[in-house]
Symmetry: C2
Subunit: 348 residues, 2 copies
Amino acid sequence: MSTLTLSCPVPVTTRDHVSLGHGSGGKLSAELMRDVFLPAFRNSTLERMEDQAVFAVNNGRMAFTTDSFVVKPLFFPGGDIGSLAVHGTVNDLAMGGAKPLFLSTAFIIEEGFSMEKLRRIVDSLGRAAKDCGVQIVTGDTKVVDKGSGDGVFINTTGLGVVTEGVYLSAGEARPGDAVLVSGSIGEHGIAILAEREGLEFDSPVESDSAPLHKLVADMLETTHAIRCLRDPTRGGVSSSLNEIAAQSQVGIMLDEPSILIREEVRGACEMLGLDPLYVANEGKLLAIVDAKVADELVAVMRRNPLGRDARRIGTVSGMDAGWVTMRTVLGTTRIVDMLAGDQLPRIC
Amino acid sequence: MSTLTLSCPVPVTTRDHVSLGHGSGGKLSAELMRDVFLPAFRNSTLERMEDQAVFAVNNGRMAFTTDSFVVKPLFFPGGDIGSLAVHGTVNDLAMGGAKPLFLSTAFIIEEGFSMEKLRRIVDSLGRAAKDCGVQIVTGDTKVVDKGSGDGVFINTTGLGVVTEGVYLSAGEARPGDAVLVSGSIGEHGIAILAEREGLEFDSPVESDSAPLHKLVADMLETTHAIRCLRDPTRGGVSSSLNEIAAQSQVGIMLDEPSILIREEVRGACEMLGLDPLYVANEGKLLAIVDAKVADELVAVMRRNPLGRDARRIGTVSGMDAGWVTMRTVLGTTRIVDMLAGDQLPRIC
């Protein structure tokens, strides 16, 4: 298996135009990063390719992360672009083991956008920040002419202080480690899709959008034997685990029956031909941890409402380095590859 | 004069839709900030309304600032959206007395955008960052469907360390202070407009887009008797000085003959009915300084290529608090008010 190649059939250097897949969080995104952005911006912090930069400032370590939110629709069951813009960035800081402190917000608004909707979004963003205990300390607003945007895009950039003694990295997974997830998967993506396409369920699927920094704090208070944390957003569980497998040069074996997927999400995925492993989450985390502390950590996570369905879903191995595989409910084994492009564009 | 009111005729609370003027940096922007953003995000750092947040972290003070760039066209004489996105954010850090250290970049790309142009922009951004000595340590890329964006929008968010003993604020101007500017004004706005409208000049006007942190370092090495620094971007010299006059509750009297405006810029402004005091700059700074050090500072600024045309253009007074006035070349006095909306949308 390790003789196969992970590269795309058409390298970015020979592509003439940017496609939706380049924003997918899948292989095309990775390729764009590797071929266009990294060569131009090269430095050792960026090259670590984590979801947040960690560096030393004033005798401490800080985490710094940025995300633009272009989710469509702007309002969806379980949240809106405002709360999502806070949770997404708070979570990227938390995955670096940082206590989130400060946010910047930058709005790009399309001319003619409803002032009432803007107010709802801004209020939601402010409330979410307050609930997370982070301060929005600086901001920017641009307005583009009608037809040059799509309602509202929001960038949030976050700053936090990394807990002393904590060094989390996608390059730290080791054979024998356990793979944990904090709950059921696929809810954010399906909630967005249902709203966008007008799908109806018996019991509606809500986005899981939520801030995970307190769950992470609970985990780090228990043990520092945590190698890596990732929130499986764009590209889902599959993309996050593939990144870890590649950066740590380990294999990751998932156990399908252990993975919790809500009935409505499973049904929607079957109906739409989607694989829930690739569907975005906005309030879940994956943790690669020393197997010795796995049970204790799962117990700790379950005491936090955002981790009440936490469980172990897989194991890191020294074989098939760079690959994620899954033992299915049928007892067979399949490769869980990274998608080239996107199942669901504009999911966040 | 001080009995007049600065508020807009139609408050934002009764407006139904966002207009281009809300992104202008003028009165409408201020109103949107005051009525929509500030109430939702309220905290003491944000309320200072500087172009950067300054806060204590790890026993030091840091500056943090964000800007989205939606300039149209993407390439213009003297720069492009990539270099502009670096200079704009580096300058906002510098105006807070901070040494710029780290940048995040977040791209929102429209589906179908030319890969070759994207590469040029990214390369330009990377080169500008390198020239400034700042590292791009984290980033994000989103792609929106065709017709939902306009080529490329870029957010840069910057982080820097504030020089010890330096406290700059738009609220610190005092009667008797001198108003300095680092050079000629209006070039960025006219360069963009000329490119957009296909105007031709005998000698072309180039954007003044440039990083000012070294000029600021030269100034702060000379003296700490500097009250406030501002880069007069959107809304031009007029908006920056009006903000200072309002926040410090002082009057500012400009001396028109002292203000340097290049011949081509003056001609273009006359032809187009623009007032150069309202036209954006991207490589100039305004400094409010103790009058005692004004001459020395002008001399220091002139030794730096980016300040070679530095000069004193006005005086802070205790009269007409909150107002900017100008003694014209004709010897009359006029009010230099803040515009409600925009002379030139999408200038940065």
